[in-house]
């Protein structure tokens, strides 16, 4: 089984990764289109309206996957940060710095869609509820990583500083979450984490899962493209870039 580490080693080299990403992105784009297409049609048209929340519940199909992704991307970024700090792989640095803006967008999307949902359901756009607040703080953490990266000129030093910040932030996220939870909560309880019997009808659940998977593949698609751009920019003096772009 030594081919797996070998393959990973080769993949960490920028030109190999660039070619790999070139081959992978069309498939990710296709998967995202199919999954998001099914999820949107199934969620917005086919699924029945909720008996309590009416048509308004349909925003779940954007809100919940976005909120999941906001946490997933942060964990992913922290993973890349650990790799950056330990092995100093250039590719991991690019992944790390590319994650921050994407994650911030997902977090902002979760916040905005949540606010739009909150107005009809709770009667207010914003309330200082635990999950809303910790999501907002998560957005600030993302923006901090982005700001730090912009501020430091040398890309490698910037990436390592961001990696340290991301790791410290990752340790901090659960503390923030539970301290805020302890502080106040109003948000409805989780609907889907109960694996044996979700408190949601299957006709509503399948489009949601499809949307969640679609968001993930879409993240992969966007991330690969961003990492490709970052690699091309960083290696702009190298011959492989000229050959690739020629």
């Amino acid at each position: 089984m030594t081919w797996i580490p070998n393959w990973l080693h080769r993949l960490a080299s920028p030109p190999v990764f660039h070619g790999f990403a070139d081959r992978l992105t069309p498939w990710l784009a296709l998967a995202s289109a199919v999954l998001l297409g099914y999820g949107l049609v199934g969620g917005l048209a086919l699924a029945p309206a909720d008996y309590q929340q009416g048509e308004g519940f349909r925003i779940i199909y954007v809100h919940v996957p976005a909120a999941w992704m906001s946490l997933f991307v942060y964990s992913f970024m922290a993973g890349a940060a650990v790799v950056t700090l330990i092995w100093r792989i250039k590719l991991a640095e690019c992944v790390l710095t590319s994650c921050a803006p994407v994650g911030a967008s997902f977090t902002a999307l979760a916040l905005v869609s949540g606010m739009l949902w909150g107005k009809p359901m709770w009667g207010t756009y914003w309330t200082w509820d635990a999950r809303l607040t910790s999501e907002l703080i998560l957005l600030f953490l993302y923006l901090g990583v982005g700001g730090l990266q912009q501020a430091i000129g040398d890309p490698r030093a910037a990436a390592r500083a961001c990696a340290l910040l991301a790791v410290v932030g990752f340790v901090n996220v659960p503390i923030v979450h539970y301290s805020v939870e302890w502080w106040n909560t109003l948000h409805q309880g989780p609907t889907i984490t109960k694996f044996d019997k979700p408190s949601i009808a299957p006709s509503m659940l399948w489009p949601l899962l499809s949307m969640a998977l679609g968001f993930t593949t879409f993240f992969g698609y966007v991330l690969l493209q961003r990492v490709q751009n970052e690699l091309l920019w960083r290696e702009r003096g190298n011959p492989w870039v000229r050959e690739t772009l020629a």
């Binding site: 923006l143 901090g144 501020a151 030093a157 390592r160 340290l164 410290v168 932030g169």
Partner: protein
């Protein structure tokens, strides 16, 4: 241990010779608290309610503003590089600097808070909890802020970046710190948030010197 004491003594001596370093944050703290009172109608009842929050955030901002002194001067005159070439572990020396920063900035702010607390109509018991919460919380604030300033040490202009990095990280400290004071004000036992503050402080004391040393090393590379 000797090196630790030497760094600590050097920091304290420097601060003793430049009194503005520890005195100005206190003035800043008092001004911020006063401005909050001026922003409200005179003796508005909500000021008493908002007191814990104002005093905590004011202390946080005052501690943030004085971060400049922590690594900047040492970075510019080369002292920081000397720390790195010394045989002692850098995290230990950084810990000494952070301890000094707490003694120079954190402790005076902690002692200043009760005076302002009287202005916000706090009783004796509440003020006791305020001092306790700041004693436990201020080390965590100073340490976290020290880590962030280590990240940006080589940059020509940090301005508003530093608060943007620090403030989200210290949310729990503010929640538990102000929460303890609020609990005391409503007559509920304040032990639980104080314990949480203590736990966060211990976590920071163990982890931050290592992280800050790594950040400094990155900035010096």
């Amino acid at each position: 241990m000797q090196a630790f004491a030497a760094v600590l003594a050097r920091e304290l001596r420097l601060a003793a010779r430049r009194r503005a370093e520890w005195a100005l944050p206190l003035v800043f703290y008092a001004i911020v608290a006063t401005l909050f009172a001026l922003g409200a109608s005179p003796n508005a009842p909500w000021l008493k309610v908002a007191g814990p929050s104002i005093l905590w955030v004011g202390a946080l901002l005052a501690a943030l503003l004085s971060l400049e002194r922590l690594f900047r001067g040492d970075y510019e005159d080369g002292t920081l590089e000397q720390l790195f070439v010394s045989p002692q572990p850098v995290s230990l020396l950084v810990a000494a600097k952070l301890l000094a920063q707490w003694m120079i900035i954190g402790l005076p702010l902690t002692l200043m808070a009760p005076l302002l607390g009287v202005g916000f109509g706090m009783g004796t018991g509440v003020i006791g909890v305020l001092i306790l919460s700041l004693l436990l919380g201020m080390p965590a604030l100073v340490l976290t802020a020290g880590f962030a300033s280590a990240l940006v040490v080589g940059l020509p202009r940090t301005g508003v970046l530093l608060p943007v990095l620090v403030l989200p990280l210290v949310c729990p400290v503010v929640i538990f710190g102000a929460g303890a004071v609020r609990a005391a004000e409503t007559g509920v036992p304040a032990d639980a948030p104080l314990y949480f503050l203590g736990a966060i402080a211990v976590l920071c004391v163990c982890g931050v010197p290592l992280a800050a040393a790594a950040a400094l090393k990155n900035a010096l590379d």
